[in-house]
Symmetry: C3
Subunit: 247 residues, 3 copies
């Protein structure tokens, strides 16, 4: 059983981050809210997303799991204006999700959850360094890095006490640096890893420019990127595997 009503904006902000990594995903319809966990086919990026029942106008669920075509559901939600209310209702018999916005009812065929790639099983990971940046700072760093390279080094400079993003092109280089004054928060510890810009650019596209984005880092370790949305009732968590450093 699942029926829920939420603003189109909240649902878009829930689906967009998932769509950067996978075409289809499982949605866990828990009593306390939605949960999505997915890993991209190349096993480089993972997204874990939770949207509490508080983010909804109304919400009723009893623990089922549905499989959806993320882009398709996102397009249907995208038909509404951002503050329109979207009604969702699961028809368990026909395995369809009924989506209503005003006079429009879209019946979305669900995907068999067993036919969707297994959800990632992440080991708990201690990431010693962390920094909280604004979405628009992250955006500037990523876009500048894209001008010269396909990957970046992200790390924390312990002596300078700053977060940096470095990209090296054939002739040009980009160095982006934010210290304590520029950052919302900074936890200094040894951290330096290389990441693919393809993934970071896709993730950057969905991070709201006014979001506070927490980056957690280590030495040649994955990066954890997280931010909240929907007035704190939603949380997006990305894990991104590092590239092997060529020495």
């Amino acid at each position: 059983m699942f029926t829920a009503v939420a603003s189109a904006d909240t649902l878009s902000k829930t689906l967009d981050p998932v769509g950067t990594l996978v075409d289809e995903c499982r949605i866990h319809l828990d009593a306390e809210g939605l949960r999505i966990s997915a890993m991209d086919p190349a096993t480089v990026g993972v997204v874990e997303l939770a949207l509490d029942r508080e983010a909804f106008e109304s919400y009723e669920a009893d623990g089922g799991v549905v499989g959806v075509d993320v882009e398709r559901l996102d397009s249907v939600v995208g038909m509404a204006n951002s503050d329109d209310l979207v009604h969702l209702e699961l028809d368990e018999e026909t395995r369809q999700l009924r989506i209503r916005v005003g006079g429009l009812e879209y019946t979305l065929a669900l995907v068999d959850p067993d036919a969707i790639r297994a959800e990632p099983d992440l080991d708990a990971l201690e990431l010693p360094a962390s920094a909280v940046v604004e979405g628009r700072q992250f955006d500037q760093a990523i876009r500048a890095a894209e001008m010269v390279s396909t990957h970046v080094a992200v790390g924390v400079d312990e002596s300078g006490e700053n977060l940096y993003v470095d990209a090296e092109g054939d002739v040009d280089t980009v160095h982006y640096e934010l210290d304590d004054d520029d950052l919302v928060d900074l936890e200094v510890a040894p951290a330096h890893s290389l990441f693919s810009l393809d993934y970071l650019a896709d993730m950057n596209r969905v991070v709201p420019t006014d979001a506070e984005l927490t980056l957690e880092l280590g030495e040649e370790y994955p990066m954890r990127l997280s931010y909240v949305y929907a007035d704190g009732s939603g949380e997006v968590l990305y894990f991104l595997a590092p590239r092997i450093q060529s020495r």
Copy 2:
């Protein structure tokens, strides 16, 4: 003889609906205003358009007919800002239309009216059901339907007393429904016909979102779509032939 002055906006709203169906059209320069009637090459859609002399700043005509390249004339008008005044003057000797906006004079070569496809001769058609919807409601229905199919069923549900637009995809379906409360007006009668979304989507593109669009329908009958513009001095009337229903 023909000279006229109108706002660029009014002229664009006159040419756009014609351009969705044909490349070239005849314009009747009657004493009381302009008249255009055209049918698309596949004989599926017809547009009938009238723009009264009241819509013009000044207007003088004595019943001639000119043939024009619709897109070209529309582009010239589109060069002006929407509230700029556009001066039109027919040079009967050279068969050219002189179009002036500010310091710009564009001389448009006319097309021989006899070289343009004959105008449609429509039988009077009784369409029992009708509904008046807002342009933005029509837009939402058409765009949703396009997500799943290439054609739609449009009809009136006599028991539910509502207008509906139905589209069936391979796996997903769209049902759009507007009842008395949502509609500006509704005349209930048996009506259900299938239409091509290609045509409806093109027509939808030119219907202003704030227009009141009247749909007239029957059982496997053409649909008549009409709305006024230019403060009521202009009227657009579309006829769209139904698709044969596959049973």
Copy 3:
């Protein structure tokens, strides 16, 4: 030695006009400001640009010359918001230009000035006629002309006392005419020359719509187009060679 700070907007308005003609250019870092002079590979268009030190927040230079990839430098500057301050610093040893905006530092490899096409050496040219038009008038004339042809005649009508732009298509023609009342200024003298619309359209794209653009003309002579920017501290000067008139 060269260090300077200017708004991103001022730097963009300096680089855009150069980028319409060449990929790489020399920048003269004079004590009194920047100077750029470049001719396109087909030797049809020349741009001469000067940006006085008054246009900068701070400026120090001692007469060096650097070679830059115009589009690349323009893209880096374009990463900033238009009122962000951009810091430029030349590293003479490594032949790199360090560009800083907020936390971002972009290191741009310079191009050997000797590897860049020699700067044009223009003879002083007496152009008897001139007209001062608004950027948006020039824009309208050029865009209308592009609808019918690939070249235009620009001239001054001595009897009518107006500036005109004429384009002749296969069937349609465009005549754009501005007289004393429409123009900021007009100096009447014999002037009529043919120019490539490719070049004029590119130049038009960078002329601000609110700029006062001075056109200087003669009989089958080059046209000089000039305007100031950055509150008068910057000046762009284009020379455009005429096309040979086919008679």
